[in-house]
Amino acid sequence: MIVEHPAAKKVSPDAAGKGRVLSPELRARIMTERGNFPQPRSALLGALHMAQEEQGYLSRAVVDEVAELLDLLPIQVQEVVSFYPMFHDRPVGKAHIQVCTNIACALRGARKLVRHAENKLGLIPGEVTEDGKYSVGEVECLGSCGSGPVVQVNNQPFIEKATIEDIDNLLAGKDVKREAQVALVPEGVEGYLLPPNGVSRCHIDDYVATGGYEMARKAWAEMEPEAIAEVVKNAGLRGRGGAGFVTGVKWGFMPKDAGKPCYLAVNGDESEPGTFKDRQILERNPHQFLEGVAIGVRAIRSNAAYIYLRGEYATPYRRLMEAIHQAYAKGFFGDNVYGSGKSCHVYVQRGAGAYICGEETGMIESMEGKKGQPRKRPPFPAGFGLWGCPTTVNNLETLTHVPVILRKGADWFKARGTEKSTGNTLFGISGHVNRPGVYELPLGTPMREIIEKHAGGVLNGRPIKAIIPGGVSMPVLTADKIDVNMDHDSLQKAGTLLGTGGIVVMDDSTCPVRAALVIARFFRHETCGQCTQCREGTAFFYKLLKRIERGDGALEDLDTIQSVTTFMEGATICALSDAAAWAAGNFMRRFRPDFERHIHEKGCPFPESFEP
């Protein structure tokens, strides 16, 4: 899958040794990958991906060999292998069937698929059939919530809206239909993130035809970095990664002359259940994003951008790599771009299934080839980021806005959205709605409009029980808050946050304890395990909620949840702990009567609810 990079420096692999398990070609590719980065260790994740593809799993021998190739100790490699869920250190089936069981997929019946597959194969998760052909795994969010349930076999493109028949076909070796996810610019909206409906603008010529890369040229050839940042700041563009920080200001934090190289790190690791927008950009409009990258690199006086893409995204990765090749071929990237005498390179790294690598410092660690454990601050990435150099981390969608802002001006941009939340964004809507999918809408669109108009209302016309407005790490809302506008300030007033704008709708059949349980399971699975509160607290919530869901809870357990949330909020290196606490705490607070019914009735009082 790794395509040899145009900018890669050639490092010759040493002569094939004895007792080695990796093929010489692979060793050569790993050495090539190694040349992409200032430090050999950064090639580790890519090398492991390649090795796993070839070997099926990462045995001790593979680990030793990769370590040797990258000048590491086996333990450093093994730590990384054990950290990332996508790496297997024991054999898996030739077809490793992974079913997403997180909230959006679970609401759509993912559990039934898992059970079906397990029954059919007679397996429990983690086992491999005797012939070594199949194994089944549950995964936490594949990033396609709008088309749940989603199944992925090995690293192939997703099987979306999967059904039991799909599983049967899969096991029978037949072809499986692959239905695409809905991603639309609704009528009446002037979309600029997505190409016009039904159009895919993957080829560079299509993009250039619409005036693409013109702004990149302008940025490199005509503009000073400050000026770029100023325009973006004036536009009021806020980061689309969840925290909503003003992008122009962030670029301003970069030191003017650090004496070290600066880097732009692009966060394409969207892994939060409910969030599945970046994938649409990469699959249908990658060049606009790449142009944004080129402008971003210029804006921070850098000459290289590193894109961190989540590992499960097979198709987007392919599209992105193709786009990069096209752009290099056209000279939009490379040395002396646009005759500026400066160079601008772009590199892609693939994650390996760890949600925590979406956290900016976690991502930086991961890009350096380490476990994706967020760094303590200080020092901040703007001073000490990738490989110890000043680094700006931007979300993939954020950068996609940038060419448009430069092209059409800050005022044009500000005319969209609300005063403090400007521009369009991609709202992902999933769960119990008739038309789940991604919709490009201005910020501040009322939630009711998104659910009822664009997403076609709730399945079977049932009343709503709960809405998660911005990915599962944001506090849940009750149905009466449906009239809130989807912008930063309005949601904050409603007691939640915009996050990534991924809306998950749950109808009244949904058991909130189960929903909280599924989310708690996600955070338990995804915490990096560094800080005490987060490592132990997420697991604590999961076990506790499971017990309550089973009907063995006690009323004081609810108070325990409440008090443990106070231990977890704002007390750790990154915000994952806060998110886990908000999720569990807010479900418990806002649906306390339902929790109490579980305790009093010693079981789940929602017979029609989805299975967790």
Binding site: F83, R535, I573
Partner: protein, 531 residues
């Protein structure tokens, strides 16, 4: 020097320092697990959270640089809640191992839970099961269930020994400490990981299930195993040493000591030790009273010097004795008038961390006290040669290092020929088999005195265990010999002898126990090692 306020107290802190060490040095106890003075900051245990005025959230003191005018509070309800939270969550999965855990009694988890934790357990969930008592090295045992993942040990192996044996595998609550198969924790400093482990996850095999720590009494001392002179604390109970722990001294050993030195205490309590003086009247050595043995030695020495001259006596000193004892020995030597005096010293391997090649605690001290051949005197090899040639009639050997140093043939030949061999040592050895008189010696743990390390730092040792049967120290033996050889009333009291050294040895001018103190006293640069 920024001024900060902690709990209402104004404190002047060094610039660029982190808050936690500043607080600790000023007696404000901020609890912490992952932070260690000698390791990099990890910031993951979250126990050291404190409140800082103007900061919306609590911050961890270990990773917060001090700023001028910073106002810190460590006792507010928010801080207490945070500490309670960390404690409760750390204990959610901790096994109920206190009764079988060697760390109980000096365990930070216990201390902080009692001091800051919640009083009652709220969790009813089953505890995490991981591997217990895994042998991860020749000297270390790992209990993964007890580990709280502070990663002090990981950082120790990464930053101090650079050996990287330990790692944390998996993610989230599945995280566990482990080693890689085939790469055990076997470095020369592995037991330090047990010291810095705040809980009982890493335990030294040597101390495993030996004694509850609250029984132990502690005496500060200096490691006797090489000339680095690592500062240690001897842990003893019922006149037996149970373990040795490094004692922090930034000028010598930071907070560490090597495994070899740490385990080198068994000889103190060894049952086969020499306890009584022995004299060879017939073919066999017989146990005699002290007065008789010393009388014999004094008589032999005096008569030999009188009849054959001082050059017919040779003394081989031991670099394991204290400065005070060696000084007394020097007085014996000068009273005899012989120039044939040298120190037998074993030289082995060293490393660039702590282990030094000179395998004796006081080699430098022996040189400084003048126990080396002066002009016209013989060194060890020459003495053996002279003895083999029958020129040396009495050989007084202290310790058995000479057996490891000298050419075996030359030594055997010398011992065959020498008229009277006096051996003063802790154990039986081939030397004692050939000796005319055997005087038992005391080990470092049974006496008080000073050692001078290789860098010229004079450091104190203290009596940790009482010698059996009121056995005299080597210094006492020399003093009694002096009494018998000459006039005057010699006593051996380390404080007084050090005062004598202060006035007699120029390099040690002005030294006293008070000046040596707990952290030692560096001899002036000009007093270079004469080696």
């Amino acid at each position: 020097m920024p001024k900060i306020t902690i709990d209402g107290r104004e404190i002047e802190a060094p610039a660029n320092a982190m808050l936690l060490p500043v607080a600790l040095e000023n007696g404000v106890h901020v609890p912490h697990y992952c932070w260690h003075a000698k390791l990099s900051v990890d910031g993951s245990c979250r126990m050291c959270q404190v409140e800082i005025e103007g900061s919306p959230k609590l911050v961890i003191a270990c990773n917060t640089p001090v700023r001028e005018g910073m106002v810190v509070r460590t006792q507010t309800p928010a801080v207490q809640n945070a500490r309670r939270g960390v404690m409760e969550l750390l204990l959610v999965n901790h096994p109920l191992d206190c009764p079988i855990c060697d760390k109980a009694g000096e365990c930070l988890l216990q201390d902080y839970s009692y001091a800051f934790g919640s009083r009652q357990t709220r969790t009813k969930e089953p505890r995490r099961k991981l591997q217990k008592r895994k042998e991860i090295g020749p000297r270390m045992i790992l209990d993964q269930e007890r580990c709280i993942l502070c990663r002090r040990c990981v950082r120790f192996c990464r930053e101090i020994t650079h050996t990287n044996e330990l790692g944390v595998f998996n993610m989230g609550d599945r995280s566990m400490l482990d080693v890689m198969e085939g790469q055990p924790l076997a470095n020369d400093y592995s037991i330090n990981t047990a010291d810095i482990c705040p809980v009982g996850a890493l335990e030294s095999k040597d101390f495993h299930h030996k004694l509850r720590v609250w029984f132990l009494k502690k005496t500060p001392s200096v490691c006797p195993s090489c000339s680095n002179g690592c500062n240690i604390t001897v842990h003893h109970y019922r006149d037996r040493i149970w373990r040795m722990m490094p004692r922090r001294n930034d000028a010598v050993n930071e907070s560490w000591m090597c495994d070899h030195g740490r385990l080198n205490y068994q000889q103190v309590g060894d049952e086969t030790r020499l306890r009584q003086p022995q004299l060879r009247r017939t073919a066999k050595l017989q146990t005699v009273a002290w007065d008789e043995a010393l009388g014999y030695v004094a008589r032999t020495l005096r008569d030999t010097v009188r009849t054959h001259g001082a050059e017919s006596v040779g003394v081989i000193a031991s670099p394991h004795l204290t400065n005070e004892e060696l000084f007394r020995l020097g007085q014996v030597v000068s009273l005899l008038g012989t120039k044939n005096v040298d120190t037998a010293l074993v030289v082995g391997q060293g490393d660039n961390l702590l282990i030094k090649p000179e395998k004796a605690a006081n080699a430098r001290g022996a040189r400084d006290m003048g126990l080396r051949p002066t002009a016209g005197g013989l060194n060890v090899a020459a003495m053996l040669e002279a003895a083999a040639a029958g020129k040396l009639r009495v050989l007084y050997i202290l310790g058995s290092d000479v057996w490891k140093v000298a050419d075996p043939q030359a030594l055997c030949g010398a011992l065959e020929k020498v008229g009277c061999l006096i051996v003063q040592d802790v154990f039986d050895s081939p030397l004692t088999e050939r000796a005319q008189v055997v005087l038992p010696s005391l080990t470092w743990a049974e006496k008080t005195g000073t050692f001078t390390n290789v860098k010229g730092r004079v450091q104190q040792i203290h009596r940790a265990v009482a010698p059996r049967d009121e056995q005299p120290s080597d210094g006492e033996i020399f003093s009694r010999l002096l009494n018998q050889l000459g006039e005057g009333q010699w006593h051996f009291e380390a404080t007084a002898v050090l005062e004598e050294i202060a006035s007699a040895v120029p390099a040690y001018a002005g030294i006293s126990f008070a000046r040596v103190g707990a952290q030692g006293f560096a001899l002036p640069e000009s007093a270079g090692d004469a080696a």
